[in-house]
């Protein structure tokens, strides 16, 4: 059995002259939560839809749960749960009828007690007509149907979109619980804080290409930090700019603003030569890291 739940190589998708995916290389390990970050139009949804053969790539290969989605798409879909980015439901059905219909498409595998439990956790009324659902409630139906058959792989396209903060947290808890049960979770988002909260690894996609894949913590450690040093008395030339990885952003009286790339060791040792009143570093958010990739 492959160690990877998802593997793509040079996955390419064009819509006429628009290059939606320009050779996506991705490896998602079994049992991990993988956050797929990128702004609108970067190729997140296209990648997921290629994996489910809703669209066919122009070039490249992919394997999902060790299967070739092009040849074994039914098996792939039987073992996956999918939440589309733009979820639409049949207006003429109730939530329960919709879920029963989708369950029937899977051969009636879901435990209805579990479905009710999920609905309760998401504060979702099963009796309501889909036409009367708000965007947030529709999204809850989407999350529920993706989870209800306890799939091996969850492909979630913007899972918390349109949800209120409390339900967002509940969805993130459900994702973490699914992981604990052995499910691989691949979810796309442009809300960086939620990716930071649950994802073990992060892939950043930019203009149809994956520009970075790393552990969430590792990515944050590797990134630029900002520091502010306040000396006890003015230091005309502390010589900090000569240190490797250190850039002086500005000086304000006795305060120096720095940008540091990599380890802080050399800087701290250098600062020890001076009387320092205060030293603050800012841990970058994943958002800043993400933006840095887009500024490149």
């Amino acid at each position: 059995m492959s160690d990877f739940a998802i593997q793509t190589q040079s996955l390419t998708k064009n819509y006429g002259s628009v290059h939606a995916l320009r050779g996506v290389d991705l490896e998602v390990r079994r049992g991990e939560i993988f956050g797929f970050l990128g702004p609108n139009g970067s190729g997140k949804t296209t990648t997921i839809r290629c994996l489910l053969v809703l669209i066919r790539p122009n070039a490249g290969t992919s394997r999902v749960l060790g299967l070739d989605p092009q040849k074994q798409s039914r098996q792939v879909r039987a073992r996956s749960g999918y939440l589309p980015g733009e979820l639409r439901l049949e207006d003429g059905m109730t939530v329960e009828a919709t879920l029963r219909y989708l369950n029937a498409l899977r051969g009636g595998k879901s435990d209805w007690g579990y479905v009710r439990k999920l609905a309760e956790r998401l504060a979702l009324d099963l009796k309501i007509q889909c036409r009367n659902l708000s965007k947030g409630n529709k999204q809850k139906v989407g999350v529920l149907q993706a989870l209800m058959h306890k799939p091996e792989l969850l492909l979630l396209d913007e899972p918390t979109s349109g949800l209120d903060p409390l339900i967002q947290q509940e969805v993130l808890h459900l994702i973490q619980e699914a992981k604990r049960d052995g499910t691989t979770v691949f979810f796309s988002s442009h809300i960086i804080s939620e990716v930071e909260q649950v994802a073990e690894r992060v892939g950043i996609i930019r203009q149809g290409m994956v520009v970075e894949v790393a552990g969430t913590q590792e990515l944050m450690k590797r990134a630029l930090r900002r520091a502010r040093v306040r000396f006890q008395k003015p230091q005309p030339d502390p010589g900090l700019e000569h240190l490797a990885g250190v850039k002086v952003l500005g000086t304000d009286g006795m305060t120096v603003h720095l940008q540091i790339e990599g380890e802080m060791d050399a800087l701290i040792k250098e600062l020890a030569k001076f009387p320092v009143a205060d030293f603050e570093t800012e841990r970058p958010s994943l958002e800043e890291i993400f933006l840095a990739y887009y500024e490149k």
Partner: protein, 288 residues
């Protein structure tokens, strides 16, 4: 496939009842009107003579409107392909595409359902709904048959319905095929509707003008017997029309197997702005 079939049947249940009951009211009233029309045979004959063959060409072309076949053709089967064809082309063009345009197809196809099962499950349901509508229409005829005094069996009455069923399936399948080949349901339905109306006019006018004879060979309604099927159903024509219907369905299925499922609203054709009412209204406001 059964789940898809059942779901499609449920979705079209109101269409089945609405169309079926409406058509059965027409067929029932038609049979109930037969005796009064026979009583006024002389006035009717002079009326038919007055209308002439050009008018009658659009109602099956027969002047013998009081024979069972002629009456059914004149009163129902000659023009009903145009009316029931609206149902057929709307459902056919939307059989797959309505979900794609609404954005619900993505979710269904993310389940372990093959595109083949989805397609044929829906097509089978469409076939059953069409057959169901015509069955209800046939029941309307049966209900009033005893009052006509015709020596016509229930099976014989079924034959023009069978012919109508095949012609509806043909235009439904054509609409389905066009919906797969063209990027919008509206376009597929409009084009099929245009072809249906063109076929009706060509076949009708070919009854009074020999110049249209060669063009009429390409008109599907030329091979539709209508009420005349009561006495003489041309099985070769029927099977040929059925063959074309199946061919269009097969082509549609092949296209569906290979095409990308669009996210709702993407990839469609939009009408040029100047062709929309809003454009003209805003232009008029600017003029003021």
């Amino acid at each position: 496939m059964f789940t898809i079939f059942k779901n499609t049947l449920q979705r079209n249940l109101w269409q089945l009842l609405g169309w079926g009951l409406t058509l059965s009211l027409v067929t029932l009233s038609l049979t109930l009107l037969y005796k009064p029309m026979v009583a006024q045979q002389s006035q009717l004959n002079s009326l038919m003579q007055a209308y002439g063959s050009n008018f009658m060409a659009f109602f099956g072309g027969t002047l013998d409107v009081l024979s069972p076949g002629g009456y059914l053709d004149f009163g129902y089967f000659s023009y009903i392909p145009i009316i029931a064809g609206i149902f057929s082309l709307l459902v056919g063009s939307g059989l797959i595409l309505v979900d794609e345009e609404r954005g619900t197809l993505d979710l269904v196809l993310a389940h372990p359902v093959s595109r083949t099962a989805l397609f044929w499950g829906r097509f089978l349901a469409f076939t059953c709904v069409t057959a169901g509508i015509l069955f209800i229409s046939w029941l309307g005829f049966l209900a009033g048959l005893s009052g006509t005094g015709w020596d016509v069996s229930a099976f014989a009455l079924l034959l023009p319905h069978l012919d109508l069923f095949v012609i509806l399936m043909l235009f439904g399948s054509l609409a389905l095929f066009l919906s797969m080949a063209l990027p919008s349901r509206t376009l597929a339905a409009s084009l099929t509707g245009g072809l249906l109306v063109a076929s009706y006019f060509v076949t009708s006018l070919a009854r009074v003008s020999d110049k249209l004879a060669s063009l009429n060979n390409f008109s599907p309604l030329n091979y539709y017997e209508g009420g005349r099927a009561l006495d003489n159903l041309n099985w070769e024509h029927l099977l040929a029309l059925l063959g074309f219907a199946l061919a269009f369905a097969l082509l549609a299925w092949l296209l569906f197997e290979r095409r990308d499922v669009r996210v709702s609203g993407t990839g469609g054709w939009k009408m040029p702005a100047w062709m929309t009412m809003n454009w003209w209204l805003s232009a008029a406001r600017k003029q003021k």
